[in-house]
Symmetry: C2
Subunit: 233 residues, 2 copies
């Protein structure tokens, strides 16, 4: 993945990236000249130019140079870098609002695929999560420490999936929590959810995740691989 290049930028570049975001580079393109940007970050125009070059080659910004300056926009990777910084600062001043759960990939028993595909659930996923999940769950078996931390999930605001019934039986309600999954090599998948049945008993040390893509493919995971799941409120 391109994350390797992302890690290459230094603190000065992150600071410059933040400046660009404050100037509106996150919501759309922003028009700049190197000299104006130099004034903002307190360097020479040459250094300002170099900062932008490095952010560009690291894939954190996209830009188009025109005759009297350049149009700059942050990329998704650039936004991720800043969001991670933001999380750090929020942790410092507000305390951690993210639960970090780690464990290993295990094979599910296939029932995840069955339930998720049912239209009674699928329609709610589309509506409430904003995507149609891949028909199947990623199963993560957690260690003791993570099982303990998992309890704090109850304090979070969940996306509620309502129960329903057909002719044969009833299907119970469930709660979804936004999550970020980080693979062993540091790759991150942002748009996933931890899904927990509300009433049905579940294995305490097992975490089930859904996402628009098949997470095993997206993060190149196999049974036994170690992942970290960041559950956010």
């Amino acid at each position: 993945m391109s994350e390797t290049a992302t890690l290459a930028v230094g603190a000065d570049e992150v600071m410059a990236l933040k400046r660009l975001a404050l100037d509106g580079g996150l919501t759309g393109e922003v028009k700049l000249s190197c000299s104006a940007f130099a004034d903002e970050i307190g360097t020479s125009t040459q250094t300002a130019s170099r900062r932008l070059q490095r952010l560009d080659s690291a894939g954190l910004i996209a830009r188009e140079t025109v005759s009297d300056g350049q149009w700059i926009e942050l990329t998704d990777d650039g936004e991720h870098v800043l969001r991670r910084e933001y999380e750090d600062y929020r942790t410092v001043f507000e305390g951690p609002r993210t639960i970090e759960l780690s464990g290993t990939i295990t094979r599910g028993m296939g029932e995840g695929q069955h339930y998720i595909s049912l239209s009674g659930y699928m329609e709610q996923f589309r509506e409430k999560l904003g995507y149609e999940p891949f028909p199947g769950t990623l199963n993560v078996t957690m260690g003791d420490e993570s099982v303990r931390r998992r309890a704090a999930l109850r304090g979070f605001d969940a996306v509620h999936i309502e129960g329903w019934r057909d002719e044969d039986r009833t299907y119970g309600p469930a709660s979804c929590y936004p999550a970020v999954i980080e693979g062993t090599d540091g790759d991150r998948y942002d748009e996933s959810h931890v899904i927990v049945p509300d009433r049905t008993h579940y294995d305490e040390d097992r975490l089930e995740l859904i996402a628009p893509d098949r997470l095993r493919d997206a993060l190149d995971l196999e049974d036994g691989d170690r992942v970290t799941v960041y559950v956010t409120e």
Copy 2:
């Protein structure tokens, strides 16, 4: 002021300071060795040592070296530096929660001193603002743009100062908003409040500020000097 030294540290030092805060250096002393810290920030032990030296001499951390490491704690200045960063990131992702008002210092008509000194107000200031304000207000005359932005103040949670009366007349209620004042030379005064009478009509382009100290002295201000007032929620 000591802010000059604060401004001297670079982005690398701020990043290191953030790391120290995440390790608990904000809530109390944290025990570290240079080599352990080097691993955290991804540098050599020599560079880690130098980062700490610079943060120390800039007054952002206080530390005590012992035989097997050192005890480190962030100073108030160090916390301020990080809080400023935090505000930047919050502005980026949550939108500005700070109203920036700029204008020039003008001579008040002396009625500020009179009202503020009255015990009916002064007691509430002590109780609700946590300090006894200097008997007098700093008057700032704003430009059109700032007058427009000032309207957003209504959306903020104010510290409410209640009205009262004595034998002769009634004194109206007022609202106070925490503010930071920044002088022309970049010096900042943190512990001040914008005070706005609730009912009495006031000049739309005039901002009145109170603070524990005489702001003209603390920030070395004269009539006509340009200041920026950051009103926070």
